[in-house]
């Protein structure tokens, strides 16, 4: 186990280093490395209260910081090895806990030896004087590539530092409350478990000033370290004093994490979660109401799940609590003992948390690995799910981070909900409007009548014919090639639509059906254009009747667009069918076909004009009183625009027919 893991860690180290280098914060810590002989431990997680009493522990905790800081320390120390493992979020949290234990042990004791992931900890070796600092940072990398580097950094939790640095010696660390808060936010973004550990760390930093003699090593703890990585660790900065961070802020998270939820201010904790939910809500607002509600429920369910998990842990903790104390005493680990009473005295919540941590480690060691593993699985799932939800629509957590940064401006949940509702209302309105406009939208009606699909299919046929022609051209040379080129060009010339139709006089006398029949007679295919005729007749009928005068201005406009789009759609369909039938025709007569298609195209184009004109005429003559001039003009322009659009569709379709004619000619 050890060997394989160590390999992983080494590789992880490199990553960690790179990341740490990226961060500017490292500079701050450089001073630390030079001066500090103390062991840099990472995982302060839970002892906060207990730590308070003990000065020793405080030092360690303070020393724990972000990976970056650790990293710098490492650079200075030169021996620091960062070991990163990809571990599930959940595991990480537990690791934190273990790590904290280790810290306690080693707090006052300078650990010279490197801590290997395995149980064998150098912690036992209490060399206060030893200056060699070896930092092993076990960072847990989550596999999710989506997360941004920052997140990863936070996730990279330095598990153990065995360095000799003492916190006391640490140079002045300039860490503003802002930075700490940021880190804190990051931790929030991370898994719940990680969040917990992080907060605990922060608390520890703040509160811990008295180092406590930590028992040597917890063998079991070391193992756990491997499995679990402390998350919050990174966020901790050199500054021990974090004025801005208020207990209230951290309490909620602690509660959730430590299952102390019931005891502490439910409001505070809720607000935290509320914020969390809020971000998601904001995102949701853009999407829609339905998604919004689902998300909210989602978030709630998450809360419930986490609470349940924590409860489970608590039970275990309480059971093992007394046991642990006794055992700890027996063992070298006296820290736990000390910590527990101190926590009880100092702050109830923290005490519980610390005790719970110790109990968990105990559990893991002695009794039920199964329980933990299953619990871990659950937590892992929850953590992953949480991350997914958190990250949805918010790559890199930018939005959420921004939200957390503005602690003062945190809105109330109800406010957020209200805002979200307003947003969705607006969106619904716009959707409704969009629906109305699409009703008038030429393209969408055209698509509804499958004009686009037929155009696409026609395009396919046209391309295939072109390919066929090109293939034949490749196989020819000399005079054959020239003559074939000429043929193709002739066909092209035949297909010149001309600028205008000169048969206007005649056309007015015949009706559309007759004209189409005449025009397509020489195509020599069995195809009818009745659909087109029907539309045209419908339009005529509508505006010759008395009841048309009851139509609203808007309705006439809609009718115009509908008729145009429908007519165009059917025209394309007919062109497509014509092409298919021509292609399977046994005896092609290109000249006739070209002539017919030109006539057909011109007839259809003029019919488009006819439809547009009949509507425009009606609109401009019957609604003078109701609507202002500008509006009428705008509508007329729109109709004529769509008529042009329709004509261009028809002409495009005609051009697609040319290769089909050419194929027939060669």
């Amino acid at each position: 186990m050890a060997t394989s893991e160590s390999d992983d860690f080494e590789s992880a180290d490199e990553e960690l280093n790179a990341r740490t280098e990226q961060t500017n914060k490292c500079k701050k810590y450089t001073s630390i490395g030079s001066d500090s002989d103390d062991d840099l431990d990472y995982i302060p997680v839970q002892y906060n209260n207990a730590v308070r009493g003990s000065n020793k522990e405080e030092h360690k905790i303070s020393s724990y910081r972000k990976n970056n800081s650790i990293y710098k320390v490492n650079d200075l120390a030169a021996d620091i090895k960062a070991e990163s493992k990809s571990v599930s979020d959940f595991k990480i949290s537990q690791n934190n806990i273990e790590i904290t234990k280790n810290k306690e042990k080693s707090n006052n004791i300078n650990l010279n030896s490197k801590i290997i992931l395995e149980c064998e900890n150098n912690f036992c070796q209490s060399n206060k004087d030893s200056n060699t600092n070896k930092l092993k940072v076990i960072s847990i990398q989550q596999d999710r590539p989506q997360r941004q580097q920052k997140i990863r950094e936070t996730q990279l939790l330095g598990v153990m530092k065995i360095g000799t640095d003492k916190i006391d010696k640490l140079p002045d660390l300039e860490i503003t409350s802002k930075t700490t808060s940021r880190e804190f936010n990051k931790s929030k973004l991370m898994n719940e478990s990680s969040m917990k550990s992080y907060e605990n760390k922060l608390k520890n930093k703040m509160k811990n000033e008295a180092p406590v003699n930590v028992p040597e090593e917890l063998m079991s703890n070391l193992k756990f370290k491997d499995i679990f990585h402390p998350d919050g660790w990174e966020s901790l900065k050199n500054d021990i004093e974090i004025p801005d961070l208020s207990d209230d802020v951290y309490h909620p998270i602690d509660k959730l994490s430590s299952s102390n939820i019931e005891q502490d201010n439910s409001n505070v904790s809720w607000s935290k979660w509320g914020n969390w939910g809020m971000t998601s809500l904001f995102n949701t607002a853009t999407v829609g109401v339905s998604t919004l509600t689902s998300h909210v429920s989602h978030g709630l369910s998450f809360l419930e799940e986490t609470m349940g998990v924590t409860d489970h842990i608590n039970l275990v903790k309480s059971k093992n609590h007394l046991k642990e104390k006794l055992q700890f005493n027996e063992e070298k680990t006296e820290e736990l003992k000390e910590n527990v009473p101190s926590t009880l005295t100092s702050s109830f919540v923290f005490g519980n948390f610390v005790s719970s941590v110790s109990s968990i480690t105990k559990l893991v060691e002695s009794t039920s690995t199964k329980v933990i593993s299953s619990g871990l699985d659950t937590l892992e799932t929850i953590g992953k799910k949480t991350m997914e939800v958190l990250q949805e629509g918010d790559p890199g957590f930018k939005k959420k981070r921004a939200l957390f940064l503005n602690d003062n401006e945190k809105p109330i949940l109800s406010q957020i909900l209200e805002e979200a509702k307003e947003k969705t209302d607006i969106e619904e309105k716009s959707v409704e409007e969009q629906r109305l406009t699409t009703k008038n939208h030429f393209e969408s009606i055209f698509e509804d009548y499958q004009g686009l699909m037929h155009l696409e299919a026609l395009e396919i046929l046209s391309k295939q014919c072109n390919m066929k022609i090109q293939q034949q051209l490749i196989n020819l040379d000399g005079s054959e090639l020239t003559s074939m080129q000429e043929t193709l060009d002739e066909v092209k010339d035949l297909c010149d639509l001309g600028d205008e139709e000169d048969e206007n006089d005649e056309q007015d006398k015949k009706d559309l059906k007759e004209k189409l029949q005449v025009a397509c007679k020489d195509l020599d295919i069995s195809i009818t254009y009745d659909k087109l005729v029907d539309i045209s007749n419908d339009v005529k009928l509508k505006f010759s009747q008395e009841n048309s005068k009851n139509m609203l201005f808007r309705e006439v406009f809609q009718e115009a667009i509908l008729s145009l789009a429908k007519f165009t759609g059917y025209s394309i369909e007919r062109f497509h069918k014509t092409a298919e039938l021509l292609l399977i025709k046994k005896h092609r007569s290109t000249v006739n076909e070209a002539d017919c298609l030109i006539q057909l195209t011109n007839i259809l184009s003029s019919q488009i004009c006819f439809i547009a004109n009949i509507h425009c005429y009606y609109l401009s003559n019957n609604y003078k009183n109701e609507t202002n001039k500008n509006n009428i003009q705008a509508v007329l322009n729109k109709i004529s625009l769509e008529a042009t659009n329709a004509s261009s569709y028809i002409q495009e379709a005609f051009k697609l027919l040319i290769p089909i004619l050419q194929v027939g000619a060669i």
Binding site: N283, T291, E392, T438, E447, L452, M453, E580, I584
Partner: protein, 218 residues
């Protein structure tokens, strides 16, 4: 008609193939209109049908190309296979010859579509049990041997028609989720975010982004 071009996330291109008279157009009509078309004229070239369905919460527009079964149109209809995400291969359980031609249809499909195209074998006219000429078992065996999905359906009663179309869509959607079907591939049959509504180009599947739905799913 449809409520608008943007109320779906994907467009899948289907193609229905099979011998003349096996009921391809009737299956399509049953699926899109939920009615049985008793007197169905011969299809010229290709006809279209569309319907919006929902798979895994995603609205998907099925763009179904119903090809002519007549032999004389084979050259033309072969042009339409390209970029189909799903192919419904239909035979008539009362006419053995239509079943015997399946391998040729299958060859065409395999040659003219891409590997990720879902091929669904449909034995139509299952309501005519008395005139059955092809047993369910042998068709099932044929489907399994060739890696096809299979069902016996009736365009007349509507039996299993819906299922065939929906199962195909589910399989395609699954392929997208699994990454087996690359939306960006030229002939995937699936399109995402078409600039123009409903235009499938050479791909059988279109994915339509509506109002930032994909970019922000929270």
């Amino acid at each position: 008609m449809s409520a608008g071009p943007y109320n779906y996330s994907y467009i899948f291109k289907y193609i229905i193939i099979g011998d003349m008279g096996v009921g391809k157009s009737c299956l399509l009509h049953q699926f899109t209109e939920k009615k049985f078309m008793a007197d169905c004229p011969h299809t010229i070239g290709v006809e279209f049908g569309t319907r919006i369905i929902e798979v895994a919460g995603q609205k998907i527009k099925l763009q179904i190309w119903d090809t002519a079964g007549q032999e004389r149109f084979r050259a033309v209809t072969r042009s339409y296979y390209r970029g189909a995400a799903g192919a419904l291969m239909v035979y008539d359980i009362t006419r053995r010859s239509t079943y015997n031609h399946l391998s040729s249809w299958l060859t065409d499909t395999r040659n003219l579509t891409n590997p990720s195209t879902v091929i669904f074998l449909i034995g139509n006219k299952s309501d005519l049990e008395g005139q059955r000429d092809v047993t369910y078992e042998e068709a099932k065996k044929f489907a399994e041997e060739n890696g096809l999905m299979f069902v016996e359906a009736s365009a007349k009663t509507g039996d299993n028609v819906e299922e065939a179309f929906l199962e195909t869509a589910k399989k395609i959607y699954q392929s997208i989720q699994d990454g087996r079907l690359d939306l960006n591939a030229a002939e995937s049959g699936v399109q995402h975010n078409p600039s123009q509504p409903g235009r499938t180009n050479l791909q059988g599947v279109l994915s339509v982004q509506q109002g930032g739905k994909d970019s922000c799913s929270c």
